[in-house]
């Protein structure tokens, strides 16, 4: 009898926990994520235009050439995209990301993800859009479970965690495309 009462009481809680782990879409999230996709597509177009103006990065035995071409591409990218924080992570998109990350950090995998974040050599950087990720700073590993719960990116971009911020990085140049401060709590 007592066991039945306990199960009945825990049932809704368990269901809520399972539902939250599956990252259920919020009422407005479809439109918000569509807007996010459009902004990413626009970025990719600019990135390709910037790439067309400089010599392409390629496989080479010359570390000097890799560094030079990465730097030239970054400069071209900055010229094509005089961006500021919030151009991609608008307040609405930031809200949606806060919701998605909160679900990950409160769901059944939360303890494991938090432990992983703590042991990932947290990095403290002063973040500014269009800056290049500094050579001397390690790249904090991003928990796979967190990445699984974030919207998919085109191959030109990647998410990274920097301290408590989530940043969007250009893969080829390491240019900081946008960021959300204080997202990982």
């Amino acid at each position: 009898m007592n066991r039945c009462v306990v199960i009945a009481a825990l049932g809704p809680l368990l269901m809520a926990s399972i539902a939250s782990a599956q990252v259920a879409p919020a009422p407005d999230s479809t439109a918000i994520l569509k807007d996010f996709d459009m902004r990413l597509s626009a970025y990719v177009k600019v990135q390709h235009a910037a790439e067309a103006d400089v010599q392409a990065l390629r496989k080479t035995a010359s570390a000097e050439e890799i560094a030079k071409r990465q730097s030239e591409l970054a400069a071209s990218l900055r010229e094509h995209r005089p961006a500021k924080q919030g151009d991609i992570f608008t307040p609405e998109i930031t809200g949606e990301f806060r919701r998605l990350v909160a679900i990950t950090l409160k769901g059944p995998d939360a303890a494991r993800v938090k432990k992983s974040l703590k042991s990932a050599e947290p990095v403290q950087l002063s973040l500014k859009v269009n800056d290049i990720y500094p050579d001397r700073a390690p790249r904090q590993s991003t928990p796979p479970t967190l990445l699984m719960n974030l919207p998919k990116l085109p191959p030109e971009l990647e998410y990274r965690v920097v301290g408590r911020a989530l940043i969007l990085l250009d893969v080829k140049t390491g240019v900081l495309v946008d960021f959300i401060p204080d997202l990982i709590k």
Binding site: A63, R139, P144, L147
Partner: protein, 300 residues
């Protein structure tokens, strides 16, 4: 009636003892031979390689390790080296690549030894374009040598696309031995970092399902060989240039640890046997053993 009951008890006892003995035998066949060094047998057509991680400091210790590798190579001519990440610490100008990679390993590079890098958290991902790292322009990739396939992964950024690639590549591989290497260890008894549990929860099921026998990692600045986990042998060889002195804690999972000097490891795979030796930069053998490939289980 009473006699048959006693016989039954005896049979159960003996069966239990035999099972225990068999388990002991199968373990001792694969475990490190504590009492003596297991030699690398230099069998014909064997796959021979070295591995280290966390090497790219440009410091004297990295050069010492490199010189010891050259000395060992005179007796054990390995063909290639697996780099377990943190290949170039700090800035990565052309001068840094010279000081932290090309100069220390010049004798091996000149002798035709190939280096296959994986990315660590201190590495610029554009190292994938640097030809001497043999990454073919990719953050993660695989290559095959005889009956062994190697999978170099990017553990700093294990996104769903890479996880799907790992699953597909492992499933498609027909190699007898599948060896994965990447920077962050799934198991570790390091006091400073410890294991990446979220990475483990997502990656290890794919490795086990895909038939991976051995995983090599770095990140922790010491040598550790763990007791097999989920049927996989895990090594940490993160002392190729860095060292975190006395960072290993006591644990039942440690098969062998070494955290008082830099070093590297040598491997030889011949048929069903993988021989290994871990060495310090002074050439002391700190661990050795044989891992035997378990025969695939067949269902009747």
């Amino acid at each position: 009636m009473r006699r048959s009951f006693l016989s039954l008890l005896l049979c159960v006892f003996l069966a239990g003892e035999c099972a225990g003995l068999l388990a002991l035998l199968s373990f001792s066949a694969i475990a490190q031979q504590d009492s003596k060094v297991v030699a690398l047998p230099l069998k014909p057509k064997s796959v021979r390689f070295a591995a280290f991680g966390d090497n790219g400091t440009g410091g004297q210790e990295q050069y010492d390790v490199a010189q010891q590798m050259v000395r060992q190579r005179a007796n054990f001519p390995f063909d290639f080296v697996l780099m377990l990440g943190d290949n170039i610490y700090g800035s990565d100008t052309a001068a840094d690549f010279r000081r932290k990679f090309e100069d220390p390993y010049k004798p091996m590079l000149d002798a035709g030894v190939k280096f296959y890098a994986s990315l660590g958290n201190h590495d610029n991902p554009n190292q994938r374009l640097y030809k001497p790292f043999n990454m073919d322009g990719k953050r993660y990739y695989s290559f095959r040598k005889e009956n062994v396939e190697f999978f170099a992964l990017d553990s700093t950024y294990m996104d769903p696309v890479q996880l799907a690639w790992v699953e597909k590549q492992l499933s498609a591989s027909t190699a007898q031995w599948k060896i994965c290497y990447f920077h962050h260890p799934l198991y570790s008894d390091g006091k400073f970092h410890g294991p990446d549990r979220d990475l483990r929860s997502r990656l290890e099921p794919l490795l086990a399902k895909g038939g991976v026998s051995v995983v090599l990692s770095g990140h922790e600045h010491f040598y550790e060989r763990l007791k097999p986990q989920q049927g996989i042998y895990y090594f940490i060889i993160g002392n190729g240039g860095q060292l975190r002195y006395h960072d290993l804690k006591t644990s039942a999972d440690v098969a062998k640890g070494f955290d008082t000097d830099r070093g590297f490891a040598l491997f030889e795979i011949a048929g069903d046997d993988l021989y290994f030796q871990a060495l310090s930069r002074t050439g002391e053998i700190v661990d050795s053993g044989i891992i035997q490939k378990a025969a695939p289980t067949t269902t009747p």
